[in-house]
């Protein structure tokens, strides 16, 4: 009887508990079971890689490894026998002191510290080496090595074009979008993470549940840029050399393909605290500066188009100074040049001649000058796919900052602001016979071999000036280098003709004569007779006690880049072999007929081909 009652009670208790678990605590328990044992895991999408036009890898995702050590795992015998060898190997790999490290590990082992950091952000090669070190090679269970990997971005050609390639950083509160990584992040490089349900099967190991993913990941697309790794290399090392020589604060160089606008190289080097240079800021795109004499090309085009001057016009500024109201504009040569014509004025870069040209020509209707500049789109930003481009500043008469002196100052590149890339784009337009095209950084979006999207040349203005004006401008740009009195004559090379304009602009002139610094630049294109590449070089604040002129500092960088491109572009000769057979002779006579027919227009200058000896 008692037994039956006891069993009944027992049964009732069990039922009650069952009821509780099944119905009452159901919600809570389900939750904790799900959260402990199952979860929704994101499937990381692979970020797209960035390539140069010639196939070099510019940016890609790699694993970086962080290694910790649990010194308590290894058995006494194993530890004692090998800890010395381990620390020796680690010391060599990580450049740390072996004995210090050994002391640290022993101390950690004694104190039961189970998580000693050994190295972080190791590349794969170093990690593999480390895996084979004594004690570590016994694995996690017997040796105590703990490895974590995470995906990080790597630039194999660093520091080449490093700032242009850029980076994308999402810190939750802020995102940093720099360069191409930033500009093409959304919808291109960054993929879409997927989702799947997983179940825990071992500590730290989860297994996917179900046949399909909750959401499929979509990997990012790859980007093919217009950069050429060889031209970039040449540009970077030449620029670096010159910047170090003149201890300049900053320098940049950009090389563009004239016909397509493709940017083949972009180098931006800024001086660090320790006097080395790194790609820390994209000044080519983001820095507004007073272009100085390189703007004389723009003034020239405006004055020619508006028929204010022609090639026969003479300028008479006396003693190398031109007066506007109560202020003077000076030539860089003391005493000036005497009466000179238009082409000479451009070749010697006479400030007074240009001040006279624009001031006399437009003082009745100054808005005509600015309107002409606006018609050539000089006041508009280029509209680049990268963040950070600044809009140019070209004031309109009557605007705040405009004065009776403005025409004279603007004529030779002061009182207005442009970025170096904007200046280059204009020079490229002249090289391109008046067709103003947009600088292009990316040519294709791809997934593997498949081209998803192609980017074509974008035209900003089909013809910025009449062909007559363009032809005159091209001639004058060539004479800057050709003519012995041209400011860039020292850049002259009979093997290949270059055309361009020097610039030596003053900065900080408002702070007084001793605080003045210079920005030395050269913008132009080559070969002058059949333009293939346009290029701008700007060097900020070279050593004042050394050289400062555009021709001396920036020009040689330009020439060096042009020379190296010339020297590495093969001259192609195609030879056609025609044979004629004649009959009835014992020996068949072959009469070869050799014709030299240049088939490919790869060569830079036909006329200047090196001779075969």
């Amino acid at each position: 009887m008692l037994v039956a009652a006891a069993m009944l009670l027992f049964g009732a208790l069990i039922s009650y508990k069952l009821f509780q678990i099944q119905w009452v605590e159901k919600g809570q328990l389900e939750q904790s079971a799900l959260s402990d044992n199952r979860k929704l895991e994101p499937i990381e999408a692979k970020r797209g890689s960035i390539y140069s036009a010639d196939g070099a890898l510019l940016a890609t995702s790699v694993s970086s490894y962080t290694v910790h050590f649990d010194p308590t795992v290894a058995r006494e015998s194993l530890f004692e026998a090998h800890v010395g060898a381990l620390t020796d190997s680690l010391a060599q790999l990580l450049a740390v002191d072996a004995r210090e490290l050994e002391k640290r590990l022993r101390k950690a082992r004694k104190n039961k510290d189970r998580y000693v950091r050994i190295a972080s952000n190791l590349d794969y090669g170093s990690y593999k080496r480390l895996e084979n070190f004594p004690i570590f090679d016994a694995g996690r269970g017997k040796g105590g090595i703990i490895v974590d990997s995470k995906i990080s971005r790597k630039k194999p050609l660093d520091p080449l074009a490093s700032r242009l390639v850029g980076y994308y950083l999402d810190e939750g509160t802020r995102t940093y979008k720099v360069g191409l990584e930033g500009g093409f992040n959304d919808h291109v490089l960054q993929g879409d993470n997927g989702l799947r349900e997983v179940q825990r099967i071992q500590k730290g190991l989860w297994k996917p549940v179900g046949l399909e993913n909750v959401k499929e990941p979509k990997d990012g697309y790859d980007l093919v840029t217009t950069l050429n790794s060889n031209i970039q290399d040449i540009t970077h090392s030449t620029l670096n050399q010159v910047l170090r020589k003149y201890r300049a604060a900053r320098g940049l160089a950009v090389v563009m393909d004239v016909k397509t606008g493709a940017v083949r190289a972009m180098s931006n080097l800024t001086m660090n605290a320790d006097s080395t240079y790194s790609e820390s800021y994209n000044a080519a795109i983001g820095d507004l500066y007073e272009p100085g004499s390189t703007f004389k090309l723009m003034s020239l085009i405006a004055a020619l188009e508006d028929k204010k001057v022609d090639t026969s016009t003479t300028f008479h500024a006396k003693y190398g100074q031109y007066k506007v109201y109560d202020k003077y504009i000076y030539d860089s040569r003391r005493g000036g040049y005497g009466p000179i014509n238009l082409s000479t004025a451009f070749a010697v870069s006479s400030n007074t001649a240009f001040a006279e040209m624009i001031n006399e020509g437009y003082k009745e209707t100054p808005q005509a000058f600015v309107n002409r500049l606006y018609s050539m789109k000089l006041h508009e930003p280029l509209g680049l796919p990268i963040e950070g481009e600044q809009a140019p500043l070209i004031r309109y008469p009557g605007e705040k900052g405009w004065s009776g002196l403005s025409l004279a100052w603007m004529s030779h590149g002061y009182e207005l602001l442009m970025t170096p890339l904007q200046v280059l784009a204009f020079y490229n337009a002249i090289a391109n016979d008046g067709r103003y095209i947009k600088p292009q950084f990316v040519s294709e979006v791809r997934r593997g071999e498949r081209v998803i999207r192609r980017f074509d040349t974008e035209v900003i203005h089909p013809a910025i000036a009449s062909s007559k004006t363009i032809t005159i401008a091209q001639q004058l740009l060539a004479e800057v280098v050709e003519k012995p009195y041209g400011t860039a004559h020292k850049l002259y090379d009979k093997h290949f003709p270059i055309a361009g304009k020097t610039g030596t602009a003053q900065v900080n002139y408002q702070l007084g004569k001793d605080k003045v610094d210079y920005v030395s630049s050269f913008a132009g294109y080559f070969p002058a007779d059949n333009p293939r590449y346009s290029c701008i070089v700007v060097v900020y604040r070279p050593d004042k006690n050394d050289k400062i002129y555009g021709a001396d500092v920036a020009g040689p960088v330009f020439k060096s880049i042009a020379q190296k491109i010339y020297a590495t572009t093969p001259f192609v000769d195609a030879v056609r072999l025609d044979t004629q057979l004649t009959q009835a002779e014992e020996q068949v006579e072959l009469k070869p007929l050799i014709q030299v027919t240049p088939i490919v227009s790869d060569q830079l200058t036909q006329a200047n081909a090196p001779s075969l000896k």
Partner: protein, 88 residues
């Protein structure tokens, strides 16, 4: 009753073998997951190795690195372009 007993034992054996199959299947699936994980890590490793190698090749074929290496041997970059001859 031995008939029933034999049938019961056969049934128990049947259920038991089902259990074994089920356990084996689940274990096999788990093992596959571990193997996939292993292979993924290996793949990642190989890819990293490839990128390291590619980086080395890209760096060494640059004009600036070649110039440095060959300067020791007294070689300098040419001032004139090479001539490519195509014979058809």
């Amino acid at each position: 009753m031995s008939e029933d007993a034999a049938r019961n034992w056969r049934f128990i054996l049947y259920v038991f073998s089902l259990f074994v199959v089920m356990i084996y299947a689940a274990h096999s699936a788990d093992q596959k997951v571990v193997r996939i994980d292993q292979l993924n890590k290996e793949l990642q490793g190989l890819r990293n190795e490839h990128i390291e190698g590619r980086r080395a090749v890209q760096q060494s074929r640059l004009e600036s690195s070649m110039r440095q290496t060959l300067e020791v041997r007294g070689l300098k970059p040419s001032a004139n372009p090479p001539v490519k001859i195509i014979v058809e």
